[in-house]
């Protein structure tokens, strides 16, 4: 019998196909509900194939320029924030990974301590106010610029790189910055990809800073805006008097929100994924 069609392979394939479909199922329900007419949800509950199709939820989300503005802000914050964050984090990580750096243990501790102890929300907010970050797009970037945990992650990655590679570069006449730029960053691509993804997700999903700092609707990031829409839906009772909320399709809005928010960030995954495989240093040092 052909090995490709052994019983084990066939059952395995079927089993895994079923599992994959099952994992896809909730997502499909979300997608279906987001396109359903609210009244058919009220009548029949959630269905995989909506009885009545409707774009009402998306119309609500995308009406006016607010959502597009929010998309723009989110993308600016995510792109700019991620680039700067990765640069700062990797530079510090590289410096701390070099044994020739004096006081690196002290610096290590300076990074490490705030990881465990935090000043609390009030002092944090006071600092943000002092820096005039209120209603300022920088307020969405600066406070999240550096994450000690990601720094240690990349630091460990750098430590794993063979010293010999760096020494040989030095012998060839490369300066510290050149070593960092042309050798370490290239070799550490999987690590950099990881923290890039983490940072990007952090920036993309952040709404708390907006809650603290942003009053201007034009500066709302996407997540905050969507959270507000959801809040509006669930606080209908309290706000009934003042909000003319009769037009809000509750369930379908929630689901459409999910679809809208996960959209762009899902694109980052496949883009970053290829670096997880490449860039391994095996064979770089021989003998």
């Amino acid at each position: 019998m052909d090995k490709r069609f052994s019983l084990f392979r066939i059952t395995n394939t079927i089993f895994l196909t079923v599992v994959s479909i099952l994992t896809l199922f909730p997502f499909l329900v979300v997608l279906a509900v987001s396109f359903s007419d609210e009244s058919s949800i009220a009548k029949n509950g959630f269905r995989l194939i909506p009885e009545k199709w409707s774009l009402g939820a998306y119309r609500l989300l995308f009406e006016g320029s607010v959502v597009f503005d929010a998309y723009r802000i989110s993308i600016i914050v995510t792109v700019a924030g991620t680039i700067i964050s990765v640069l700062i984090t990797s530079m510090l990580g590289y410096a701390l990974s070099r044994k020739s750096l004096k006081y690196r243990n002290v610096l290590n501790m300076i990074v490490y301590i705030p990881m465990i102890f935090s000043g609390g929300l009030v002092p944090f907010y006071m600092v943000l106010l002092k820096l005039h970050l209120k209603d300022n797009i920088l307020g969405l970037i600066l406070p999240m610029l550096f994450n000690p945990f990601f720094m240690f992650l990349i630091l460990n990655f750098f430590r794993g790189l063979p010293d010999a590679v760096i020494e040989s570069a030095k012998i060839d006449g490369a300066g510290e910055f050149r070593i960092y730029r042309s050798i370490v960053m290239r070799l550490a691509a999987p690590g950099i990809a990881t923290i890039t993804l983490f940072y990007a997700l952090n920036y993309w999903n952040e709404w708390n800073l907006a809650l603290l700092l942003i009053n201007d609707t034009r500066l709302y990031p996407l997540q905050y805006l969507l959270r507000m829409i959801l809040m509006r839906v669930s606080y209908v009772g309290q706000a009934a008097m003042n909000a003319n909320v009769s037009e809000i399709p509750a369930e379908s809005t929630k689901m459409a929100t999910v679809i809208v928010t996960i959209g762009p960030i899902m694109l980052v995954y496949p883009f970053v994924q290829k670096y997880f495989i490449k860039g391994i240093t095996i064979g770089a040092v021989k003998g």
């Binding site: 004096k102 609707t217 003042n242 909320v245």
Partner: protein, 521 residues
């Protein structure tokens, strides 16, 4: 390399020093602002006397809700219109409802400057204790003539602690809101049933629906207590029960003196309601899963139910949603014993406070006073610019052409809600307008314990034990699932074993203190 490290260390040390200094700086400036606020109040008062021109100052308001698109435009119009009178640069910041209370607390404790904020009765004592708000007696005397005239005394009393007034109450329908509930008018008319105004007419409605509309739940939820209690033949108005998270177990009859707290489960009233709920349960008037139902609103607007709890504030919204699913559906507010006595059981729940971080509390109070001064001013804030964000159609407001009704200018009114000035919209449901008129016409009495707030500090263990009995045993009993007298006796016995007497004694002491302090006769 070494030099770089040295430089780095130096920079680090410098930043640390700077941040410490910044921390200190914050403290002093907060003190200064507190001090200067007092001064500026005094100085501008003197300036006022000499009729000098006011300097422009910012006035910032924090409210909960969504920022309307037209907000900036409207604020600019207000700033311009009040140039001579107030000369303020008004800003309104919105925080989502769910985050509102904690965010304002944070902003206040971080010393952020703002002037007016919306608050709720549950926050009153905390706000005072944290010194988040200031007392405004003097400011009201100086600048609040219209406020004092427009707002009834009993509302001020709700917000007065030890003679100091801490908030500017909103004036809105709050009297016995539970005495009304939402009913499907179209179903009532289909069977030629009379308007629901008493327990008997409500029973008739429920029974007809149960018999003729198999797909419709007559009553969402599983409790007829307010219909029983408020019926003209029974108490006639809402009762004061409290003490539980899920269901109250303490009861005070505020018509009697001295005020005495009782075990609610042991009262005759409780037994009467219990019998009524048993009847409703056996007749199939309740929904089957009322204890676990999380989506009553959803069922009602899908047309699957004939009545549910709800009040004046829900009518428009429910009717609009219902009409989408049931085109000829209509909602009305049934009110039990309309002509009977109406009393305010609780305090005013929404009010505006002046923040302790405000640099210009005088101007803030002046603005609040301006808002309530006359209809014109109130409209300018609540409805915006005439012809642009709203039109007047007689006494009613109308959404201008070209604006989607749901995009109309719609600020959060609760820090300064004023029903006497509140305009209805031409799109409002007639049932809502009627109910609004009715509540506006009420002249309620105020119950002696309306501002009493109960504390379970001393009886935490007993409270936990009693609440467990309430949740596990009393609720199923009360809603008619358990019907035998032995069940009732067992519940009473278990409540005693859980230590309800100790809670009663502790509460009685609190009530006696309250009565003595407030000279209640």
């Amino acid at each position: 390399m070494k030099k770089v490290i040295k430089l780095l260390c130096l920079a680090m040390a410098l930043t640390m020093l700077l941040t410490t200094l910044a921390g200190c700086g914050k403290d002093t400036s907060a003190e200064q602002s507190a001090a200067s606020s007092g001064q500026s109040a005094a100085s501008s008062a003197s300036a006022d006397n000499s009729a000098a021109k006011l300097q422009e100052v910012p006035v910032t308001i924090y409210v909960a809700g969504d920022r309307p698109k037209q907000q900036d435009e409207v604020l600019e119009a207000i700033n311009n219109a009040t140039k001579d009178e107030l000369n303020i640069n008004l800003k309104v910041n919105y925080i989502p409802w769910g985050d509102y209370v904690s965010q304002v607390k944070l902003k206040a404790s971080a010393g952020e400057e703002f002037d007016i904020f919306l608050s709720f009765f549950g926050e009153l004592s905390g706000n005072i204790a944290r010194k988040q708000c200031i007392s405004i007696n003097d400011l009201l005397d100086k600048y609040g003539a219209d406020l004092k005239q427009q707002i009834p005394q009993n509302l001020w009393d709700s917000l007065t602690v030890d003679g100091k007034i801490y908030g500017i109450p909103a004036v809105y329908a709050m009297t016995e809101m539970g005495r009304g509930f939402l009913v499907r008018k179209d179903l009532r008319e289909k069977y030629n049933l009379p308007e629901i105004t008493s327990l008997a007419t409500y029973e008739q409605f429920l029974d007809t629906i149960a018999k003729n509309e198999p797909d419709v739940i007559p009553c969402l939820g599983g409790d007829l207590s307010s219909a029983v209690v408020c019926d003209a033949g029974k108490i006639g108005h809402s009762i004061f029960t409290f003490g539980g998270d899920n269901m109250s177990y303490l009861y005070v009859d505020q018509d009697k003196r001295p005020l005495k707290v009782e075990n609610y489960v042991e009262t005759d009233l409780f037994k009467e309601i219990w019998k009524e709920d048993i009847k409703a349960y056996n007749n199939g008037w309740f929904e089957k899963d009322f204890l676990s139902d999380k989506d009553r609103d959803g069922k009602f607007i899908a047309g699957k139910a004939a009545s549910m709890g709800g009040d004046l504030y829900n009518i428009n919204d429910r009717e609009n949603q219902l009409k989408k699913n049931v085109p000829n559906g209509e909602v009305e507010l049934a009110i039990i014993n309309k002509g009977g006595k109406w009393i305010n059981i609780g305090p005013v729940n929404n009010f505006g406070m002046i923040s302790s971080t405000s640099k210009n509390p005088d101007r803030a109070v002046m603005f609040m006073n301006w808002l309530r001064k006359d209809q014109k001013n109130y409209d300018m804030y609540m409805l915006g610019i005439e012809g642009k964000t709203y039109k007047l159609n007689g006494e009613k407001a109308e959404v201008p052409e070209g604006t989607d009704p749901k995009d109309r200018y719609n600020p959060t009114p609760w820090f300064t809600m004023h029903f006497p000035y509140l305009r209805t919209w031409t799109t409002d449901s007639p049932a809502y307008t009627q109910a609004l008129d009715f509540w506006n016409s009420l002249k309620p009495e105020t119950a002696p314990l309306s501002t009493f707030s109960y504390s379970s500090e001393n009886v935490k263990a007993e409270k936990a034990a009693v609440e467990k009995v309430m949740t596990d045993e009393v609720i199923p009993l009360f809603f008619g699932a358990k019907q035998k007298d032995e069940d009732y006796d067992k519940v009473v016995k278990n409540l005693k074993a859980a230590g309800i007497q100790k809670i009663l004694d502790d509460t009685q002491k609190q009530i006696d203190d309250f009565v003595a302090k407030n000279n209640i006769k």
